[in-house]
């Protein structure tokens, strides 16, 4: 194919999706993935520009132009190996990374046209490998050193994979009964199928990483005990597992869930298959989800699939919503209704103590606040009430306190986040590193992975210098 004379196709090849009318009542994956032909055509939209600005946009620094070139040449095995030099969870990142604000935001083609669909191509080639059950474990020479990783979420798994590839013996301690962290308890099946997550984790196990589930560090072993037991370093990636509530009246009524509880029941415990699976979930006829992030979208779309009318209540407007644009669009297509410029001030209940309605205050936008977004200001006297059976609080999560509580030498900030050096992930304790949401507060999967990667390099430098 002639690179010089080729006319650029202005738009991304569309992603095939499950029809909204059908998908709003099932938990199957919404985005179906590119076919081989579409992937090759999309890959050929990349002009292989010299400076590859896309790579700077990737928190883990994947050689994007190289893997895309390989796809255009139908060298899929080469493409996936190229990605795995930097990222051990490509089937996950291809699905849940906010590419529009990272790699694709920097794409040269994207200056005048739509950028190359980097995320979709990453997913394509990762799925291609999974479909072929390739066992691509590289040869590793053990270096005799041991590292403990606390938390089997995206950050901990990335650290584990990177260190295993360098020859470290790695044990990952996971509190829940399956590995994956937010990938299994938080992100719904329809956005990230759990068999994909399980498969990616199998690949990490194949590197020799031992994953111990049902192991609550802080309770079963403390961080200082892990060091005493012979681990040369510890990485803490325990995530943002502490749900925030609003402290409004009625928040402890039956029918008010944290998004964490709502999603965990459904995703981790498979309550949507109740009573075949024994964990119940109850949504009633109408659900209000409070918040405007990806977790709010996931909750609202889950509620819809469980058969309820689903509303999102958000303080600002569409423009300020922190959720990915694609997720908002999908939610609206499926029938989620969004109330902008409103926030609950009270949840009311019936005589049985169940939620019956939610009373909301109207807001308008004022001046930009510290986050750069225009801040919502209440409009005096403007209130409205919606009858609902369920309220899901998706207003954010704080760091899980179990490890800091039981590790007094570990310095935390006033919100309870572990203080770690941005360059090295080093904490106040020698040999102890931390990264991901427990350090930054709730952020994205890929940023947590980036932190894991940074930490793995710092841990390697520390242990090799030892």
């Amino acid at each position: 194919m002639s690179q010089e004379k080729r006319k650029i196709i202005p738009q991304k090849h569309p992603m095939p999706y499950q029809d909204p009318a059908a998908r709003c009542s099932n938990f199957e994956e919404v985005a179906l993935g590119y076919s081989e032909e579409t992937a090759v055509l999309e890959a050929s939209r990349c002009i292989q520009c010299k400076n590859s600005p896309c790579i700077d946009g990737c928190p883990v620094g994947i050689d994007i132009s190289a893997f895309i070139k390989m796809i255009s040449e139908r060298d899929y095995a080469g493409a996936i190996s190229k990605i795995k030099e930097k990222n051990y969870l490509p089937a996950i990142c291809g699905r849940v990374c906010p590419q529009e604000s990272q790699c694709e935001a920097k794409c040269t083609i994207g200056k005048k046209n739509e950028p190359v669909a980097i995320g979709r191509l990453e997913r394509f080639v990762a799925d291609w490998e999974i479909a072929r059950s390739m066992e691509s474990a590289p040869k590793i020479t053990p270096n005799g050193k041991q590292v403990a990783v606390v938390g089997a979420g995206p950050s901990g798994l990335t650290t584990a994979a990177c260190l295993a590839l360098k020859g470290y013996g790695v044990t990952v301690f996971e509190a829940l009964h399956v590995a994956g962290g937010v990938l299994v308890y938080g992100i719904p099946e329809f956005r990230l199928p759990k068999k994909i997550v399980a498969r990616e984790i199998e690949n990490i196990s194949r590197l020799g990483v031992e994953i111990r589930v049902n192991a609550v560090v802080g309770k079963l072993n403390r961080v200082d005990e892990l060091l005493e037991q012979g681990y040369d370093a510890v990485y803490i990636g325990t995530g943002a597992g502490l749900p925030y509530f609003m402290n409004i009246a009625g928040e402890n009524l039956n029918g008010v869930y944290s998004a964490n509880e709502f999603l965990t029941r459904n995703n981790l415990m498979k309550a949507y298959k109740f009573p075949e699976y024994l964990t119940p979930i109850r949504v009633g006829n109408r659900v209000a989800v409070i918040g405007g992030g990806n977790v709010a979208m996931d909750s609202a779309r889950t509620a819809l699939r469980l058969g309820a009318e689903s509303h999102i209540i958000y303080r600002r407007t569409l423009k300020e919503m922190p959720a990915r644009h694609e997720e908002i669009e999908h939610a609206i297509e499926e029938g989620v209704q969004i109330q902008y410029l409103a926030s609950p001030i009270e949840i009311k209940g019936n005589e049985e103590g169940r939620v019956s309605s939610i009373l909301c205050q109207r807001y308008e936008l004022g001046e930009p606040d510290a986050s750069g977004r225009r801040s919502p200001i209440p409009v005096p006297g403007e209130m409205f009430e919606i009858e609902v059976d369920t309220v899901v609080m998706a207003i954010g999560q704080g760091p899980n306190p179990l490890v800091p509580q039981t590790t007094p030498d570990l310095k935390t900030n006033k919100w309870g986040n572990i203080i770690a050096d941005a360059e090295t992930a080093a904490t106040s304790m020698k040999g102890v590193y931390a990264g991901g949401d427990v350090v930054t507060g709730a952020a994205t999967v890929i940023l947590a992975m980036g932190a894991g990667k940074t930490a793995s390099e710092a841990i390697d430098a520390y242990l090799q210098g030892k």
């Binding site: 609550v216 965990t264 415990m269």
Partner: protein, 283 residues
Amino acid sequence: MFKIVLKEELAPKIKLFKVMAPEIARKARAGQFIILRIDEEGERIPLTIADFDAQAGTITIIFQEVGKTTDLLGALEQGGYLQDFVGPLGMESEIESYGTVVCVGGGVGVAPVFPIARALKEAGNTVISIIGARNSELLIWKKEMSHISNKLYIATDDGSDGQKGLVSDVLAEILSSTSVDRIIAIGPVPMMEAVCKTAPENITAMVSLNPIMVDGTGMCGACRVEVDQKTRFACVDGPEFDGHKVNWELLKMRARMFVDEERIALTQSCGEGECSCHRKNAK
């Protein structure tokens, strides 16, 4: 997988398991709990630890068959396995030398009171225990409790063992004649509430709350309770709180969250014969 090394029926529908879990047994302290999941389809349920043996590597749990999951649990045999067993969770009991402590256990609540009473005794307290049940047949661990108590009182609803009446009646009598420095009460919610109403406000009355939980590590907030007018998570802040400050009405209300679903699970989960109970029966 976690092996059930001993199964005993203590009373009708009340069973004891010793589960092989050496790491948990090494770390467990009085007052903490575990969460278990029977199999892939199972729910995660919290049970307060009834005893632990670091040398044998076992954790003892005692449960009453009151719903789908506890029924399935009771159907497991000695030598069988639990898919998941995680702990020790929650804060351990505060154990100090208080002086005279009254330990109250009602129904299966006698089991988790046992290690706390033992620890209090070892810490030098005079331990007065009151255990109760509907009738003598349902009374568990009488012998165990008598070993570690300076004095043991028994109350049954029908008077078939000990005094006829409630454990809180016995407590009132003790309080009228003895100087008590602290009270520990574990059992059904109405029992714990009655104990706290009987005890004067100036005597701390610790109760162990067992609200609905999912993860048990502070992640989901299902176990929200109100103590001293503040929302707390029983799994990480508790499970023990000063009962004088617990909002009992809220606790009782939240326990009814899934009352309909619990009935459905008990009666309808056998739809296609694909459910776990059918598969177990087929084995």
